[in-house]
């Protein structure tokens, strides 16, 4: 007892500063002030150094350089660009090139990844083993190395245009890239796309009508097949209305290179191939574990109710598996987009590679890197906002 009272009195006798320190609220404030002071100090120090360095090297700060003439050519662009255009326009070319390879890559990686993920669950031993070998190899070798391999395959192993591989009529593989036949621009293709859009709207309306009818009468309707028919049909009608253009530009050898058709440059093809094959390995794992996560009890219960195999898959397994699959899948899409920045290693003019050229020419390193970060961060932020929305709306309700 004596000891306790002594320690109590000694605590009371402590200085007010110590009392402040021992109050958890104040201690937290003090810690936070220290952290903020530290951050402010470090940032201030770096900024002052940077200012001094920039002054010494006579580099102007700010984004004024974006209006200056770029003076370098870009090998591929989705809109007109030449060396006399501004740096700003060059960045825009890079941004669209990043999105082009990322969007096509996401679609292809999803298709391939789903096939391989399901393949790993196959009851066919060979298929399962091949699929898991694919996953192990693609996931355990650096993406950059894979990109370089594909680039090497396209630029070295493929023949010169004059003896290009011609696996299908009008399709040529050569070290100048992949040549594909492409329809010649015509109003008919525009009306056809309008037709497809109308078809999609129609298919949605059809699905709604089918649901209402099933609710009322109990009769199911082959929504998927009918919807698909509506979309294809409307597309064909649109094409016919626009004059049914049939002109297709087929690549032809002219001198040392091809003329006509559509080109996938070796750089674009290598980046696309590398990103698709690498990301598909990760997507396959996500798909596999998503399907495995739906417990066996769920399929059993559905079977016991008399649902057929495809109904069990459509009404019970997939809705649950997708809830598990979609969040990590969006992370993979984001990774693919970020990884497209490795295009700089093979010379595909994406955002980072054009920014790199720009900062080498102008010395505007801070600005160029800020642009990279702003673009990728807003992308990440957008995706995570979507994920938060998704999680709050779609995720399973639990206690």
């Amino acid at each position: 007892m004596a000891v306790v009272s002594e320690s109590e009195t000694s605590r009371q006798r402590r200085s007010p500063l110590a009392a402040l320190w021992n109050d958890p609220r104040y201690r937290a404030v003090i810690y936070q002030l220290l952290v903020i002071a530290g951050v402010v100090f470090v940032v201030g120090y770096l900024v002052s150094n940077t200012m001094a360095n920039l002054e010494q090297r006579q580099i102007a700060t700010g984004f004024g350089f974006l209006d200056r003439e770029a003076g370098f050519a870009i090998s591929e662009s989705m809109f007109s660009y030449d060396a006399t255009d501004t740096y700003g326009r060059a960045f825009l070319v890079g941004l669209t090139n990043t999105f082009r390879v990322a969007i096509i890559g996401v679609v292809l990686a999803t298709i391939l990844g789903v096939i391989i993920g399901i393949g790993r669950l196959s009851t066919n031993w060979l298929v399962a083993k091949l699929a898991s070998a694919y996953v192990e190899v693609t996931r355990n070798v650096p993406l950059l190395l894979q990109l370089l391999v594909w680039y090497g395959v396209i630029t070295y192993a493929l023949p010169h245009p004059r003896d290009a591989d011609n696996p299908l009529p009008g399709v040529f593989f050569s070290n100048r890239g992949i040549k594909l036949p492409a329809p010649v621009a015509d109003i008919g293709w525009l009306t056809a796309s309008v037709g497809v859009l109308v078809g999609i709207v129609g298919a949605i309306a059809l699905a709604r009508w089918a649901k209402r009818r099933q609710d009322a009468t109990g009769q199911p309707f082959p929504t998927f097949r009918a919807g698909l028919a509506a979309i294809v049909g409307a597309g064909i009608v649109g094409w016919a209305v626009g004059g049914a253009p049939t002109a297709i530009s087929v690549p032809e050898l002219a001198g040392f290179n091809f003329r006509g058709g559509m080109t996938l440059t070796p750089e674009f093809a290598a980046v696309l191939l590398g990103l698709t094959i690498y990301t598909a390995g990760f997507i396959a794992e996500i798909v596999r574990s998503g399907i495995l996560a739906v417990s066996h009890g769920q399929t059993e219960a559905a079977h016991a109710l008399g649902l057929r195999r495809n109904q069990v898959l459509r009404l019970v397994v997939l809705p649950q598996a997708l809830r598990i699959i979609i969040p990590p899948m969006t992370t993979q899409y984001l990774n693919l987009t970020k990884n497209s920045s490795l295009a700089v290693a093979v010379g595909y003019p994406d955002l980072v590679s054009i920014g790199n050229t720009t900062l080498n020419q102008t010395g505007q390193a801070i600005e160029a890197i800020s642009i990279f970060m702003a673009v990728y961060l807003s992308l990440s932020l957008g995706i995570s906002l979507f994920m938060n929305w998704y999680n709050s709306h779609i995720a399973l309700v639990e206690r």
Partner: protein
């Protein structure tokens, strides 16, 4: 109509043919589409495998030879590895001193292998690592004990890849733990700083972080303080890995039930005692499998330093392939280093899976 023990005449199950035929029927030909798939795969195998064996082995050039000799052969040019193998493995490191990085790599791999055994975890392992890292640094850098000094712009190849990975993790791991604790802190300012850092780094590609490290660090620091290229790359890698490791550790922290925190508080432990003695040991154990996966990703990611001009495994290979005559041998070169990366990453991932299943059973046993 009661006891039927006597009447239960036990015979075997109605058996399909046994052995290989049964296995084939159950695993390769169980449905018509599986049979079709099997046939397609076997057919493709008959077309691809012999060609691959031809290229890899039978028609390959195995002896040392000039590149011109390889042009005539139909198979792989392993002469390339004869000529450039040591360059790929060690970069520009002085040829006569290459036993030093060899020994260093062996030492590092030995330490990693020992660390794989959970029984070795403890103080002695930490001491062994500390000594090991000093020894490795000494071996590679030299300048003492009669070893000649090798400046770091001559370091390269496998030792550089492993070095960037190991040093990166050694520094990024504690930083990641601090960031994770900060992100879960009650103090808004601390939390905001940590969240901002983690999300900023995770939101951008590694290549931009590396560009930042290699181009902006010289701008950020006073003129008289210059940092060489290797160290800048290493700083960039550490900054990058710390953010990812922080998220993995945070996952582990979130898995610890609130009761553990409350019990520690009830015992009168301070915040740091609570974290060090109670929470972190459990959280990090749970997080081991994802941590190892992050390590694997990090080892692969170090290959990006080639873009800022370092001669790691990939950089040295690229540089070897840029020499006239050897350019077409990219398949041999890349295959060689792909194999090295694969062996390292695959064995780590198998290890992480084994550990995960053991931890899983451990947890179930405790329930």
């Amino acid at each position: 109509m009661t006891d039927r023990i006597e009447t239960g005449q036990v015979t075997g199950p109605p058996r399909a043919p046994t052995g290989a035929i049964r296995w084939l029927r159950e695993n390769l030909f169980n449905t018509w589409y599986n049979s079709l798939l099997t046939l397609v795969i076997v057919w493709a195998g008959f077309n691809i495998v012999p060609a691959m064996v031809d290229w890899l082995v039978l028609e390959a050039v195995w002896h040392a030879a000039p590149p011109e000799a390889c042009r005539e052969a139909a198979g792989a040019c392993w002469a390339f590895l004869h000529e450039k193998g040591r360059f790929i493995l060690f970069g520009l490191y002085p040829y006569d001193e290459q036993w030093r990085p060899t020994l260093a790599v062996a030492l590092a791999l030995g330490l990693i292998a020992v660390s794989g055994d959970r029984r070795s975890w403890g103080r002695w392992l930490a001491i062994a690592w500390a000594l090991g890292i000093v020894a490795i640094a000494l071996l590679i850098r030299g300048g003492a004990l009669g070893l000649s000094y090798v400046p770091n712009n001559q370091w390269g190849g496998l030792p550089l890849t492993l070095g960037l990975s190991i040093v990166g993790l050694v520094f990024a791991f504690p930083a990641g733990i601090l960031l994770a604790l900060g992100r879960r802190s009650d103090m808004p300012a601390v939390k905001a700083v940590c969240v901002a850092y983690i999300e900023l780094i995770r939101g951008v590609p590694l290549i931009t972080v590396l560009f930042m490290a290699s181009l902006l660090i010289p701008l950020f620091l006073p003129q008289e303080l210059s940092i060489d290229k290797l160290l800048r790359a290493q700083i960039g890698l550490i900054m990058f890995a710390a953010a990812y490791l922080a998220e993995v550790v945070r996952g582990g922290l979130q898995a610890i039930p609130r009761g553990q925190y409350e019990a520690a508080d009830a015992l009168g432990l301070t915040y740091w005692q609570k974290m060090r003695l109670i929470i972190l040991p459990q959280a990090l154990t749970i997080a081991i499998p994802p941590l190892v996966n992050t390590f694997i990703g990090f080892i692969k990611d170090t290959s990006l330093v080639v873009i800022i001009g370092l001669f790691d495994l990939l950089g040295a290979t690229k540089s070897a392939l840029s020499e006239a005559g050897w350019r077409p041998m990219y398949k041999e070169g890349y295959l060689f280093i792909a194999l090295i990366y694969f062996v390292i990453c695959y064995s780590l991932s198998k290890y992480s899976q084994a550990l995960e299943s053991r931890l899983e059973t451990g947890r179930r046993a405790r329930r």
